[in-house]
Symmetry: C2
Subunit: 469 residues, 2 copies
Amino acid sequence: MPARSDACLAALAAAFPPAALLQGADIPARNLQDTSYLPTEAPLAVLRPDTPEGVAEVMRICAAHGVAVVPQGGLTGLAGGAHPIAGAVMLSLERLAGIEEIDPAAATMTVRAGTPLEVIQRAADDAGFFVALDLGARGSCQIGGNLGTNAGGNRVIRYGMAREMVLGLEYVLPDGTLVTSLNKMIKNNAGYDLKQLFIGSEGTLGVITRAVLRMQPKPGCVNAALCGMDSYGDVVALLGQARRGLGPMLSAFEVMWADYWHEATVTVGVRSPLGGAHPFYVLIEAQGLSEDIDGPRFQSWIESQFEAGLIADAAISQSMADVGAFWATRDACSEFGSRLGPHVAFDVGLPVAVMDDFAQACKARLADRVPDAFSVYYGHIGDGNLHLIALSKGAQVQPMTQISAAVYETVRDFGGTVSAEHGIGLLKKPYLGYTRTPQELALMRRLKAAIDPQGILNPGKVFDMEEGA
Amino acid sequence: MPARSDACLAALAAAFPPAALLQGADIPARNLQDTSYLPTEAPLAVLRPDTPEGVAEVMRICAAHGVAVVPQGGLTGLAGGAHPIAGAVMLSLERLAGIEEIDPAAATMTVRAGTPLEVIQRAADDAGFFVALDLGARGSCQIGGNLGTNAGGNRVIRYGMAREMVLGLEYVLPDGTLVTSLNKMIKNNAGYDLKQLFIGSEGTLGVITRAVLRMQPKPGCVNAALCGMDSYGDVVALLGQARRGLGPMLSAFEVMWADYWHEATVTVGVRSPLGGAHPFYVLIEAQGLSEDIDGPRFQSWIESQFEAGLIADAAISQSMADVGAFWATRDACSEFGSRLGPHVAFDVGLPVAVMDDFAQACKARLADRVPDAFSVYYGHIGDGNLHLIALSKGAQVQPMTQISAAVYETVRDFGGTVSAEHGIGLLKKPYLGYTRTPQELALMRRLKAAIDPQGILNPGKVFDMEEGA
């Protein structure tokens, strides 16, 4: 262990009680890996301060000793943004948890970074409100990580990304400065909107300690339909009709390609709510104000699309159980890991109009490059977000690099993004240049150098400081 | 004229045709002043490139000669952000105008920075969509300025600020680098969201050249009510009820204090839709999907609030003419300049719960400090945005500094913002520290220094680089 690490550890041990400083065998396995499942590396220590000032103190001590710091939330990230770095201090926010205030007049909630998303959702619900951010990892992910990665989820089409839910933010800069800006107002044009820099930068510019979140009114009712569609052109036309006909009530517009549908209903075995087979399936959800008015309105809107010939077949929810059953076809992808075996999962974004062209081009390129290539497509297409999984059938070890290159090169060809919602972290770093120009990358590096001149906060994540590295 | 200015002008003249370079008496008066009405200063020249590359070339030449550049949009800003700087090049975007593309599938529009907002609104309308950004200066303001200042407006409660409407952005950095990032996807988490830095930084970090805007579906119907309210507590309670009962259809929640109401209906003479007098008046607007369903729903919701005793009196719109008549009471403030004489107008933000306490404290402090002080209060309170005007009755010259200090000190006491939507520019620069902490100001300066190390882009706007300047 280099001398500066020894001195840093000694300074941290002098400043923090044992509960806040874990080393060696005392470090729980859960602090050593995120959901990228990259090979574990041994950190210097795990620090778990329970106040914003404590987070600032960790950062200040590490900065003084030139020791790298990796912020840790719930470690549910898929791209490796919170993956441990050998010899670095892991700064876990897990003990900086809890809800500080709920302001019903402003419809805001002030939370500590280590609070699990589900705790926040429940607290809002208890207060008669709704926090729109939702994702599969809700029970274990933490709000600090959700904001640090600008999490998305199923209802972005209506409520926006995590970024749109933040009114105020507190964070610690790489030099240990605590910046507190817990604004509650929707409008605040007093100087630069600094919080935007720290949302979605994957812990490379600052460590989020607290946030003021917007709360929404609870929806009064939820209706859904599962539609069989004859062509991708009909899917795009239906999205346009849904935007008009359902307006701000449209809360999800999910598309599943036929190959996905087969895996979901046959391989995974989710019951299909529809009789026949179609090239495309659309799950539409609308959150209304009251079932007596919005239920019949949703039903008659779906019927009008059927009568106009846009929808080939449809099942309309008659109960929340139906809504759940429809979503089960879309959530079947969470079983793909166990049913389809090792595969590579992608979270790309594309302009809505070209998504099917992309899917066809991607399949063709995979067939060219990968033996026995297999891929299925599905996603939140109303938001321009397409998920896909790809694999080489029967391969013991998946050719990850070939598969990734084939997919991301096709994304580049169609003007898409290599990450719509999961972030870049470590896994997608080689492909960031497929979506961002050299000018953008240079500006990212310039900002990183300005805010973290020592390069000690989550170094090597998202991009490397050396061009072409 | 210093030598570097001569050399800069010569280089500009060599690079641009006469239509793009105006000097001396050829400069139209409109390019010499924005709507802050600060005393005019003589620029070196006005440059009017008509391509993004031309904007980059102006910036590159000025950077090479160390000559300051002030970006100019429609010059409708009230805070002085685009006020000319003596000896600087005024970089007008007026010839970089027009709509480049409308993508109905993505519901996006790609526009050039110099396009007037009203042209954009009409183009969206022609394409069957709706651009939610709207403000009084729509006919002359330009989208580049709207984005550079993160414009607000009347329907932020439903659609958000200008920032929320931007998917992609192109801008020129102070060294002349053109950064093109015309993303159309709602979700794009590939590295830092750089555009956020250039939205709302009032032309101090870059010059916006093009943008991709989100379009919304057109509302199917609009309903409104004008309500007389007995107390501010009732106003806050009604806002909570409106969020729940009208959900995402709620498109405006405007409050007018009794003093404002008197000036609007007596001094300006707008007809009151209500019979009696009340301490507070609320204008509620909801944008629905179809009049047959949402008209009766709105009416019955208002009636239920009346029956519950929350609303003391109400007029409900029966036609778009009624909606217009209700808005006339709120728009009467545009006549205050001519009816009340010289006054100081404020655009502050406060947590919703404390707005009336603020108004009372502000009146008291003004009464203490300003002879024959008079002030009236109104605003978009659902967004935390309060407007007020204040003056010393009968004073030939208004004591601007005393009035401003009294108001902004009260804003500081209540944890508010000195600018909710108009920006800081020059006029509010002395008060930025009332809303932002020293740590935030230091970070703003650090970003400015990193992106504009020469300090040549709109220098001295928003904040000074020297602490305490």
